[in-house]
């Protein structure tokens, strides 16, 4: 039997508790089963000025990544932490995002690459790619993936997310656009990626909180948040990034401006596809570094 649709009226009922539509969808669908174990997500920020490419200096990015990974895994030695993620015999694909206006950034890519090499993986068994992953021999043979991309509002899926970043592992990405990308998490069951993701890095240096025009971009709708969100759970990392975007929209537009498309693929990744945790109540958020304007 199909479930009752969620309507605007459901949002009105709980508007006082959670005024943004996108944020309310998880609660309205019913939270995931209670669990004593929370999923850890680390938010690390640094106030250093951003370079022309939109990232902090490389050494700052490296420190942010290292601090985040150590906190995530509860390990003081960063190389040991990475060795718990990546084996020396792994073939590692770093799935990046090359969107023209807000890419993952070379600084993040190289910081990850360095630590993968520190874990013992040879340079010839590491690749960084986005749109070419299906043709990339390293990705074709990959035993481990590191998923790194910026979060931004998205004209169709609500937000460009870590979950969505794997759409390039499918031969026909458009085939996943149904119901505004509701079932993107199913991609994570495809053999080329299933069970391989060791770390997720959601880049929040200059997130886009609103989009306009065919390219869904205007610089005035970005801001210098200067953060990285790091987790082993892509859904929890995305849900956390989404809270930040929604908080920024509320700050900028006022109460009455939910994301233009509901990013329900994040919530459905939890409740329908069981890829991870979207309920903030089941996420342990560890915040490191710069606190000004943190929003959550």
């Amino acid at each position: 039997m199909s479930r009752r649709p969620i309507t605007r009226r459901d949002f009105l009922k709980v508007a006082a508790a959670a005024p943004l539509a996108g944020a309310m969808i998880p609660a309205l669908h019913g939270a995931a089963p209670a669990s004593a174990d929370k999923v850890r997500v680390v938010l690390v920020r640094d106030p250093s000025p951003l370079g022309t490419g939109g990232a902090p200096p490389a050494e700052v990015v490296q420190k942010m990544l290292d601090d985040g990974v150590r906190a995530l895994l509860g390990e003081t030695d960063v190389v040991k932490a990475w060795k718990s993620l990546i084996r020396p015999d792994d073939v590692v694909g770093i799935k990046t995002n090359a969107w023209r206006y807000i890419p993952t950034t070379a600084e993040v890519e190289q910081a990850i690459r360095r630590r993968v090499m520190d874990a013992g993986v040879g340079e010839d068994r590491i690749a960084i790619d986005d749109r070419g992953v299906l043709r990339n021999p390293v990705f074709q043979k990959a035993t481990a993936l590191v998923n790194a991309r910026p979060m931004r509002s998205h004209h169709w899926s609500g937000v460009g997310s870590l979950i969505k970043n794997y759409i390039m592992f499918t031969p026909q990405p458009a085939a996943w656009h149904g119901d505004t990308c509701a079932d993107l998490a199913k991609i994570w069951d495809l053999p080329i990626v299933k069970g391989k993701t060791r770390l997720n890095v959601l880049v929040m240096f200059t997130p886009l909180f609103h989009g306009v025009g065919p390219h869904h971009y205007a610089k005035e709708y970005t801001w210098e948040y200067k953060g990285l969100i790091i987790s082993r759970d892509p859904v929890a990392a995305d849900a956390t990034g989404l809270r930040i975007l929604q908080a920024k929209r509320k700050e900028h537009f006022g109460d009455d401006s939910p994301l233009q498309m509901t990013p329900h693929h994040i919530q459905l990744a939890d409740t329908r596809h069981h890829l991870g945790v979207s309920d903030p109540g089941r996420i342990e958020l560890v915040k490191l570094g710069w606190d000004e304007g943190v929003l959550i």
């Binding site: 009752r4 649709p5 969620i6 309507t7 605007r8 009226r9 949002f11 009105l12 009922k13 508007a15 539509a21 969808i25 969107w99 998205h154 004209h155 169709w156 899926s157 990405p173 458009a174 656009h177 119901d179 505004t180 990308c181 989009g211 306009v212 025009g213 065919p214 390219h215 869904h216 205007a218 610089k219 005035e220 939910p258 233009q260 498309m261 509901t262 329900h264």
Partner: protein, 288 residues
């Protein structure tokens, strides 16, 4: 690309100047409804939902200045050119084409069956002037004019807010403008035409939705579906008070279904529906 599409692409490209001030253009890129994702990612779904036929993208470059990008869409029909223009009305009217808006370096306008986006990757005084100049040149080069969707004529004029009218086909686009439900409870689809508009101003805003279906039966099913899912507590009443203290009402009239959201009273909701019904009757003409 078949011969007629090639011809359409040539015609559309001919409307775009090859230079604008000191900016020079790169080679055009051409996309259809299948390949548009290669250019604008999932946002292509918006244009596909308006039946886009062709996109010509031309980038203008000048060292030391922000790029300017023209995206020219052949939507196949003026109604869809108008519709996709109404997808994003944020900004000021630039007085270009048959309807335009400008904000933050982005000019959008429609004319005939075409929708144009002219975008400066960074807004400066110079790029703003160049974008508007480019838009004017393109609009003047397009010889024809198109008719807005006839469905717009069914909207009551009294209280209608300027620049809030949206024309579309699908539930996803409806939810983009005004979230109704996470399921398609109004049975919208590529074959339906819909118009949504705001009334009353910011402090007293209500919304009017009118959908045209293929026939009377389709409209009846949609109204029944909406009443069942959205206003199950209405009983036999024409309107229901929703959780924000406002009123929603819906009814089918011929091949149309009309819905009023957030009216100030049940009477106001019903009065607006009746105004739509009069417009429908008027459009049909006198009974034989």
């Amino acid at each position: 690309m078949c011969a007629s599409e090639t011809s359409d692409a040539r015609r559309l490209a001919s409307y775009i100047p090859s230079t604008i001030g000191p900016w020079l253009s790169e080679a055009d890129q051409s996309f259809d409804a299948e390949t548009v994702f290669d250019y604008i990612d999932g946002a292509g779904e918006v244009y596909r939902s308006y039946n886009m036929r062709l996109l010509i993208a031309r980038r203008f470059q000048k060292d030391g200045r922000p790029d300017i990008v023209v995206d020219a869409f052949d939507m196949g029909a003026s109604a869809d050119a108008f519709g996709v223009f109404t997808h994003d009305l944020d900004g000021e009217d630039a007085g270009i084409g048959q309807g335009s808006t400008y904000k933050a370096g982005l000019l959008s306008f429609w004319k005939d069956r075409y929708f144009l986006s002219v975008y400066a990757e960074e807004e400066t005084t110079e790029t703003r002037a160049a974008v508007l100049d480019l838009g004017r040149q393109i609009a003047e080069a397009i010889p024809g004019r198109g008719e807005p969707p006839a469905l717009l004529k069914l909207l009551p004029v009294d209280g209608l807010e300027a620049r809030t009218t949206r024309f579309f086909h699908t539930a996803s686009v409806l939810n983009y403008h005004y979230f109704v439900a996470d399921a398609n409870i109004l049975l919208l689809g590529p074959e339906t035409d819909a118009v949504l508009a705001a009334y009353g101003g910011k402090e007293d805003r209500s919304h009017m939705l009118v959908v045209s279906y293929g026939g009377v039966a389709g409209a009846g099913r949609a109204a029944e579906s909406f009443r069942r899912e959205y206003m199950p507590d209405a009983g036999g009443n024409p309107a229901v008070r929703t959780e924000n203290g406002r009123w929603t009402a819906a009814r089918a009239a011929g091949r149309y279904c009309a819905v009023v959201f957030d009216a100030i009273s049940a009477e106001a909701a019903v009065a607006r529906l009746e105004a739509v019904e009069r417009s429908i009757a008027s459009a049909r003409g006198p009974s034989p």
